[in-house]
Every structure is written in structure tokens, then in C-alpha cells.
């Protein structure tokens, strides 16, 4: 309680460290809290899938295919007699791995480009921004489709494809945050004190662009999971035996008239997961927005 009050005061006086700001923002927004809680559950499921799932990811029973939900199989079985609930549980891992890796790659590359672009400005900035204009002219899901279609399916290709579609977005967001920060006086002061570019970037600028990065990462993970499921759905996703929600939806589609549950549950899993990341991202963004704060 006392800690909370102290945080409140620090927040009002604007003297929190960037990380504290994020934690404070989450704690002040119910949406962000719910989203975070749900994500925590998802992460738990993803890590301990083997222990939680009642059946194996690939455990088949050709004598018991397309069985409607029962006590043995809460969400029924699929076209190879595999337990749908277990596949959804293992699918959590797949989705999170794809989402987090794709965003990490996009963030690493886009982040560096954005930092360099926003910090050094000039010709480098123009060059990077023109290239990102080109990338942004292709709707990112189409870019991902083209890449996966070209290099083939599989986890790695899919992650790279989704990441490439996101690089330009990250670069832009980080660039504009960096530009706002560099206009502040303490950067000039650091220059005057003779700090190196590297030191200024890592010590002063990076911490100050943390919140837009976190917001965009959260929304980006949501997009990546959606894109992965979409690719899986049109048959450009992972290999069939891997549990992936989009793929499950796509193969369940053939049974849409007779075994509706094969379509409903994986879709629900996708939606709730995306919802959680969107809630977290939105919540933090609103909490950081000074105009939204006192509402």
C-alpha cells in the first residue's frame, strides 16, 4: 500500500524510471492488467504444455476420428483422432514462439534502423525512410504471403516473413520517438559534456523510447499471431503435424457442416490471445498518454 502511494507520488512528479513508468502504467489500467494476466496464463500453458495437455500433440487414433466433445475429449477429436484440447494447448506454444520471435527480429532490425535514422538524421535518415516507404507500400500480410510462398513454409521462414513485414513499422515508430527525445535539452547537454553517440543512444535515448516500443511490441505480437494463423489458414503455414491454430482452423474447415467444433475452438483461442495482447498494448498506450491519464 505504501509502495503504491509512493509510486503515485513519483508518477505525478514525473520522476519514475522508464521501467517503473511501464509498471505503473499497467497497474493503473484494468485493461492492461487483464491482458497481462491472460498473457501470463498463456505463457504458463506454453511452457508446461506437456504437463497440462491430457494427450500428446501428435497422439493419433484412427479408430476415433471426428468425435464430438466428450468427457475423454473435452473439445472432441480431429480428423486423425487427435485431442483438440491438447492441440490447442500445444498451439499456444507455437503462436507465442512465432509472435515473440517475429517481433524480436522486427524490433532488433527496425529498432536499430529507427534509432540511427532518428538520431543521426541527414542522408542516412532519408535513405532508411525511403526504403521503408517502399516496404510500407506493400500490405504487410501480402509481403509475408509472398515471402512464405517463395521460400516455403516452416517455422523459421514464417517468423522471418512476418518480421520483415514489421520492420518498417518499428523503424518509423522508434524514429519518431527518438526525434522527440533528441529535441529535449538534456541530449544537448550530454553532447556539450562530450558524451559519445553510443553512450547517448544507450543511456539517454533508449530508455526514453521504451514505452512506444513496449506498446508496439505488444500490438505487433498480436498482429504476428494473427498473420501466422492467416498464413496457416491459406495453407502457407507450418507442417501439418505441428499444432498451430490457423492450421487447425484450416483443416477443420472441411468439416464445417458436421463438426463445427473443429472451427470454433481454435478460432476462439486465436481471438482471445490477440485480444490479450491488444488489451495490454492499448492499456499501456493510454496510460502513457498524458491526455488520457486523468480521465
Amino acid at each position: 500500500m505504501r509502495k503504491r502511494e509512493k509510486l503515485d507520488q513519483l508518477a505525478i512528479s514525473g520522476s519514475l524510471t522508464p521501467w517503473q513508468e511501464v509498471r505503473y502504467a499497467i497497474s493503473k489500467d484494468n485493461r492492461a492488467l487483464i491482458g497481462l494476466a491472460f498473457i501470463a496464463i498463456l505463457v504458463f500453458i506454453a511452457i508446461f504444455a506437456e504437463f497440462i495437455a491430457p494427450y500428446g500433440m501428435r497422439e493419433q487414433n484412427l479408430q476415433n476420428v471426428l468425435q464430438a466433445p466428450t468427457l475423454q475429449h473435452w473439445l472432441g477429436t480431429d480428423d486423425l483422432g487427435r485431442d483438440v484440447l491438447s492441440r490447442i494447448i500445444f498451439g499456444t506454444r507455437t503462436s507465442l514462439v512465432i509472435g515473440v520471435s517475429a517481433v524480436s527480429i522486427a524490433l532488433a532490425i527496425g529498432g536499430v534502423l529507427g534509432l540511427v535514422s532518428g538520431y543521426f538524421k541527414g542522408i542516412i535518415d532519408i535513405l532508411i525512410m525511403r526504403v521503408s516507404d517502399v516496404l510500407l507500400a506493400i500490405p504487410s500480410i501480402l509481403l509475408a504471403i509472398a515471402i512464405v510462398a517463395s521460400f516455403g513454409s516452416g517455422m523459421f521462414n514464417m517468423i522471418v516473413a512476418i518480421a520483415i513485414g514489421n520492420i518498417a513499422i518499428f523503424a518509423r515508430i522508434i524514429r519518431s520517438s527518438v526525434m522527440t527525445v533528441t529535441e529535449r535539452q538534456f541530449i544537448e547537454a550530454s553532447h556539450a559534456l562530450g558524451s559519445s553517440h553510443f553512450r547517448i543512444l544507450t543511456k539517454h535515448i533508449l530508455p526514453n523510447v521504451l514505452s512506444p516500443i513496449i506498446v508496439q511490441s505488444s500490438l505487433g505480437i498480436a498482429f504476428a499471431i494473427l498473420a501466422a494463423a492467416g498464413l496457416g489458414f491459406i495453407g502457407l503455414g507450418l507442417e501439418a503435424s505441428v499444432a498451430e491454430w490457423g492450421l487447425m482452423l484450416s483443416s477443420g474447415r472441411a468439416y464445417i457442416r458436421t463438426q463445427t467444433y473443429l472451427t470454433i475452438y481454435p478460432g476462439l483461442a486465436i481471438m482471445l490471445t490477440i485480444l490479450a495482447f491488444n488489451m495490454l498494448g492499448d492499456g499501456i498506450r493510454d496510460a502513457f498518454d498524458p491526455k488520457m491519464r486523468d480521465r
Partner: protein, 312 residues
């Protein structure tokens, strides 16, 4: 009967971190055709007092107590639609930032005519003619051109003239001027003030002048109310205030304005409690002596100072 009578007005904001008391129980009156200045630093609640009169509120703002009588009507209890009939018509207001107070996507003509069409039921032709007249009345050089212009094409002074024209076009009984000249440079400021004075005389409009600038106040109003922390600290006729302000807060305001040392401003002070250190004032002894009521101490006719002010 006074044109405007504000009694124990309280205006609160409900925020996530609790209630903020922007205006906390203030009272004053304004007679027709007269001028009243409300002076204070930013955050003192002076603007919120003005806003409260016609209830131009944020969504989380409300009148929590007290009453406002205007022209014999208790407008603090009015509904939105009743207030809409008064706003811009009987009570007008002009704001501090003329550049941002005009809608950037509409022409001056449209914004001027709107008010006439709404309150005077004018046809758009008549409204345009009247708008033209009003622009001439506020001494704008090329009214036709300005009418067709968008706000971003006008200078600050021009914008404020347009605002004044708009505010006065329905011949209001009360004009609230919320720091109308703060954002303008000194020469324009003087012109605008002169214009307002002229129009005030001509139209017999009462003015509620809100400002932190004591220099402006001296030219525009008859009486002054000094606010601090949502409360009135001192009120007096304008000349009395400048000559013999009693409250230390007022004194400091005046000193700051005159750029003089606060000690010199305090010279010749008769009331010993103003010498108290650390700005804590205890009026109890005055109440005991019977020269102060619960809240105010009357120094002379029309000159009151607050008793309960405590600096945080």
C-alpha cells in the same frame, strides 16, 4: 438588482485521483454596464469561475454548490438547452488564445453567421450583412476579405477582433473576457483593450474581465476580485486595491507587477498580522475583536480581505 450575483460558488473536477476543488465557495456581484476584474495566478480558479457562469464545463466538471443569478434568473440550475439560449446571446465570452479559439476548418463568415442564425433567427443573407457590419465595428480593414478567410490566414490581433465581433454580435448583457490580450503583443493589446472599452460604452455591456495582468485590469474595470487557490483573498474597487491592498498575496501580486521589492510594497502597513512569518495567517484575534465575520474582514466600504487563507 445586480446583473450577476454569484453566491458561494463551488466548482469541482472529478478525477481518477479524487476531487479537485477548482472554485471553492466564492461570491461576488456585477452591475449592468460595469466592469469587474478577477485577478490571480494561473491555477487560482479565476478562469473556472468564468466558465462556471455559463457552465462551459469539461465532462468531469460540475457545480458542487452555491448559486449564480443572472438578470434575475438562477442560471446555475439551468439545463443545457436553457443555457444554450443564453450563451453567445445574453452572455458572451472571449478567450485567451484567439488563434486556437476559431475553428480552423470553417471560414470567418460561417463562424460569425452561425451565432446570428442560431440566436437571432436571421437568414444567411442578413447574417452575412450583419457579420460584415460587426467586422467593421471592430475596425477590421477589409471585412470582405476577412469574411472569406480561414482562421490560419489571420493574425492574432485580427482573430481576437473577430472573436470580439462574434461575442458582441447579439448585443449581450454580459461579456466575459478570459485573458483576452495575454497572447497578443503589447501594441495590439492596447488596441484591443481600447476597442473593448469603446464597445462597452457604446453597447452598455457589463464586462467580467479575467486576467493575471494588473495593468490591464486598471484600465478596464471598476472593481477587482483577487483569487488564490479557488478562493477570494481580497476584493476592492480597482483604485483602492492599487493604493492600499491589504492582503499579502495581493501585495505580492502588485509588487510583482510593479517589479518592486515586496518589503517596500509592505511599507506603511498598519495591520500587524501581515508581518507574521511563513505566510501563516491567523485571523482568530480579529474575529474575537468583532471586526471580521467567519470569512471576510471588511477593511472599508467595498474592500474585503479573506480571513481563512492559509498558504499550503
Amino acid at each position: 438588482m445586480s446583473l450577476l450575483e454569484v453566491r458561494e460558488l463551488q466548482t469541482y473536477f472529478d478525477t481518477r485521483r479524487g476531487v479537485v476543488k477548482a472554485v471553492d465557495g466564492i461570491s461576488f456581484t456585477l452591475e449592468s454596464g460595469k466592469g469587474l476584474g478577477i485577478v490571480g495566478e494561473s491555477g487560482s480558479g479565476k478562469s473556472q469561475t468564468a466558465m462556471s457562469i455559463i457552465q462551459l464545463f469539461q465532462h468531469n466538471q460540475r457545480i458542487a454548490g452555491g448559486s449564480i443569478m443572472f438578470d434575475g434568473r438562477q442560471i446555475s440550475d439551468y439545463t443545457d438547452s436553457q443555457l444554450e439560449a443564453i450563451r453567445g446571446n445574453e452572455i458572451s465570452i472571449i478567450f485567451q488564445e484567439p488563434m486556437s479559439s476559431l475553428n480552423p476548418v470553417f471560414t470567418v463568415s460561417k463562424q460569425l453567421c452561425e451565432v446570428l442564425i442560431t440566436h437571432q433567427n436571421m437568414s444567411s443573407e442578413d447574417a452575412k450583412a450583419k457579420a460584415y457590419e460587426m467586422l467593421k465595428a471592430v475596425k477590421i480593414d477589409q471585412p470582405e476579405r476577412v469574411l472569406k478567410s480561414y482562421p490560419h490566414q489571420l493574425s492574432g490581433g485580427m482573430s481576437q477582433r473577430v472573436m470580439i465581433a462574434m461575442a458582441l454580435s447579439c448585443n449581450p448583457k454580459l461579456l466575459i473576457a478570459d485573458e483576452p490580450t495575454t497572447a497578443l503583443d503589447v501594441i495590439i493589446q492596447a488596441e484591443i483593450l481600447k476597442l473593448m472599452n469603446e464597445l462597452k460604452e457604446k453597447l452598455n455591456t457589463a464586462i467580467l474581465f479575467i486576467t493575471h495582468d494588473l495593468g490591464v485590469v486598471s484600465k478596464m474595470v471598476d472593481n477587482v476580485v483577487v483569487m488564490h487557490g479557488g478562493k477570494i483573498v481580497e476584493s476592492a474597487p480597482v483604485k483602492v486595491l492599487f493604493k492600499s491592498a491589504k492582503h499579502p498575496y495581493t501585495k505580492r501580486l502588485i509588487a510583482a507587477f510593479l517589479k518592486t521589492d515586496i518589503r517596500r510594497a509592505n511599507e506603511g502597513e498598519t495591520l500587524d498580522f501581515f508581518e507574521a512569518e511563513n505566510d501563516q495567517y491567523d485571523f482568530q484575534q480579529f474575529r474575537d475583536r468583532g471586526v471580521a465575520d467567519d470569512d471576510f474582514y471588511q477593511v472599508s466600504a467595498g474592500h474585503m480581505i479573506a480571513c481563512r487563507l492559509k498558504k499550503k
